[in-house]
């Protein structure tokens, strides 16, 4: 019986080894070698000595943070009111619907909306303003990235709030807590796991967005993703590209650790 169980495990183990462990090992190997395949730490020295890379790292972090924060500010109230709605399934469907459309198509749609002759500028033109430069600005980049990420934030928060026993909220109100206190001491801590998984789902991919930086940001927004693309595709310096990749992985692990440690501590049993 035991051996049969082990047999079932084989495909999964193979999968994990081939598609998770092996690629990471390969990236690590590339990052610690030079173009002649001999061991070197030089790639890392270059990364941390070179101001450009550090600046890029800070840039990536900054934009990812802005995107995550903005998404959270928009999504939390939305998720909260969703739980109070009548036709929840319908509304939820409407929120999820945009994720069925390919990212590239959405980006091109926004190019049409934000361009000099786009919808926004045509609207502004009615009031005698414009044309205003919107495309290829930081604002456009953050706006579109936020738009794309919102469903991934609303869903986990919605589920977390929905799981909260309404009696807890009622009890808090009955015991004389103000609305703010109810939110601060009851709703927020209890919905926190949802917020955390939402933040993880958005912050981590946002660190290395590069298609949007080019299409919407016009390469005026440069993140580590841009650098990785350049090192792999243009100069074919895979070793340096892999080094940046490893550093991104490390950054992501740190973010995961920070967010999930708090989650464990705050877990409240009902």
């Amino acid at each position: 019986m035991r051996t049969r169980k082990a047999l079932f495990l084989i495909p999964y183990l193979l999968w994990i080894f081939l598609f998770v462990i092996l690629p990471i090992l390969l990236i690590l190997w590339y990052s610690f070698t030079d173009s002649n395949r001999s061991f070197t730490l030089n790639n890392y020295v270059v990364f941390f000595r070179n101001g450009t890379f550090l600046r890029m790292m800070i840039n990536s972090f900054w934009y990812a943070m802005l995107i995550t924060l903005l998404t959270l500010v928009i999504s939390y109230p939305a998720a909260y009111f969703l739980t109070k709605m009548k036709n929840q399934q319908l509304w939820l469907l409407l929120i999820i619907l945009p994720t069925w459309i390919n990212l590239l198509l959405k980006a091109y749609a926004f190019i049409g909306i934000l361009g000099n002759n786009g919808l926004v500028n045509q609207f502004l033109h009615l009031f005698g303003i414009g044309p205003v430069n919107i495309l290829f600005t930081d604002f456009a980049f953050i706006f579109v990235a936020t738009y794309i990420e919102i469903p991934f934030m609303i869903l986990p928060i919605f589920n977390a709030i929905k799981e909260i026993n309404p009696a807890v909220i009622q009890a808090s109100e009955d015991l004389g807590a103000s609305r703010w206190q109810t939110f601060r001491y009851v709703l927020w801590p209890l919905s926190r796991p949802g917020v955390e998984s939402g933040v993880q789902a958005i912050f981590i991919p946002s660190l290395s967005l590069f298609m949007l930086t080019r299409l919407i940001g016009g390469n005026r927004v440069i993140t580590l993703g841009t650098a990785i693309e350049e090192y792999f595709m243009t100069t074919m310096n895979w070793n340096m590209g892999a080094t940046i990749g490893v550093i991104l992985i490390v950054l992501m692990v740190i973010v995961m650790l920070i967010t999930s440690r708090k989650a464990r501590r705050k877990k409240v049993d009902l």
Partner: protein, 357 residues
């Protein structure tokens, strides 16, 4: 549980059906057991009618696959497992592929039509004896401008781009060698400069262009220029040609102080299975009549002098795409500078992209 099971089965059945259908559709091309010629080319870069004609004439079956960047093509061929008989890299990539031992020598006796190619397009530094490559199309790097926003003839030189008038108006091509090269030429240096000092000077000059730049993009530029989104674009002649076809307000200028001269070339990779057909195809494409037809379809400038004569006058004498002799003399072909210097160009360009605002 049962529902899921039924769903899975039906999905599998649909997939199987589709696969069978696809197989059925592909069959007519695979049958007949004709020998095939596999061409790996840029998208929309060859008149499909010519392929049909070649198939009829020679009896080979042509398989046509496409790529969208030299690097993607290089990586695919280098990884192996491909059997392309013919591909069309740009000049610097020819050098690179040759150095990586990916190319086979051409059998020039099998390509007699090479005699039609203009002397000024042969024996370039990337393949001094043309042992490995035959030029297919050539072009330049230049400035496209929209006469709705810029007065006709106002832009003649690279330095005109630095004018304060064009604040936030310029789309710059996202290519380190081209952008840095433009800055180098405007300073009077060679586009193949290896001196770090001159490169830094070029970067500083490029930084000065920062406020005028709206975006740094490649493929999307065509769409933006056609939609009157920006006044000026720095791009390649081929791209410019496509833009001008869809927007008559656009004009293309090659600054006469110098610019890049690029070539796309026929080469035969080492992995080729049917070299005989590849040579036959190259020779077929060099036939003046076919070359002229192809040049009219693609719109790029052909190095085939006999074919040039067959083109209508308005194309042949269009100085935007067939520049005059003085400009031609100032054009420079990129040399492969080796990984280290290429990296330096790219790092400087990346820094420019980060800080220039």
């Amino acid at each position: 549980m049962k529902k899921i099971f039924i769903a899975i089965i039906s999905i599998l059945l649909v997939c199987l059906g589709l696969a069978g259908l696809a197989n059925h559709l592909e069959k007519p091309t695979a049958e007949g057991k004709k020998q095939s010629l596999i061409i790996y080319n840029w998208g929309d870069y060859l008149d499909p009618k010519l392929i049909k004609k070649f198939e009829k004439q020679s009896g080979y079956h042509v398989v046509y696959e496409t790529f969208d960047s030299n690097e993607a093509m290089y990586t695919k061929i280098k990884q192996g497992g491909t059997a392309y008989d013919l591909t069309i890299p740009s000049e610097y990539m020819v050098t690179k592929m040759r150095k990586a031992h990916l190319l086979d020598r051409l059998n020039k006796q099998k390509i007699p039509n090479m005699k039609y190619i203009g002397k000024s397009f042969l024996h370039k530094s990337f393949d001094a004896e043309n042992d490995y490559s035959v030029p297919y199309f050539w072009g330049t790097l230049g400035i496209v401008y929209n006469d709705k926003f810029v007065k006709k003839g106002a832009i003649k030189n690279w330095n005109d781009l630095w004018s304060k008038k064009y604040h936030h108006q310029i789309l710059l091509v996202d290519s380190a060698r081209d952008a840095m090269g433009m800055s180098l030429v405007s300073l009077g240096y060679s586009m193949n400069t290896t001196s770090s000092m001159k490169l830094h000077l070029a970067q500083t000059k490029l930084d000065g262009l920062g406020p005028n730049i709206k975006a740094i993009i490649s493929d999307e530029m065509r769409m933006y220029m056609i939609q009157n989104e920006a006044a000026i674009g720095v791009t390649w002649s081929g791209e410019a040609y496509e833009m001008m076809e869809s927007n008559s307000h656009l004009h293309y200028v090659v600054p006469k102080e110098g610019s890049n001269l690029w070539f796309d070339n026929f080469v035969v990779p080492k992995t080729a299975k049917n070299k005989k057909a590849a040579f036959e195809f190259i020779n077929f494409m060099l036939e003046p009549k076919n070359a002229a037809q192809n040049a009219r379809y693609v719109g790029y400038a052909t190095p085939n002098v006999a074919a040039q004569k067959l083109l209508p006058k308005y194309i042949r004498e269009d100085r935007q795409f067939y520049p005059d002799q003085t400009t031609l003399r100032h054009l420079q072909v990129f040399k492969d500078l080796g990984p280290k210097k290429t990296q330096e160009y790219n790092d400087l360009f990346l820094e420019f992209k980060m800080y220039a605002r």
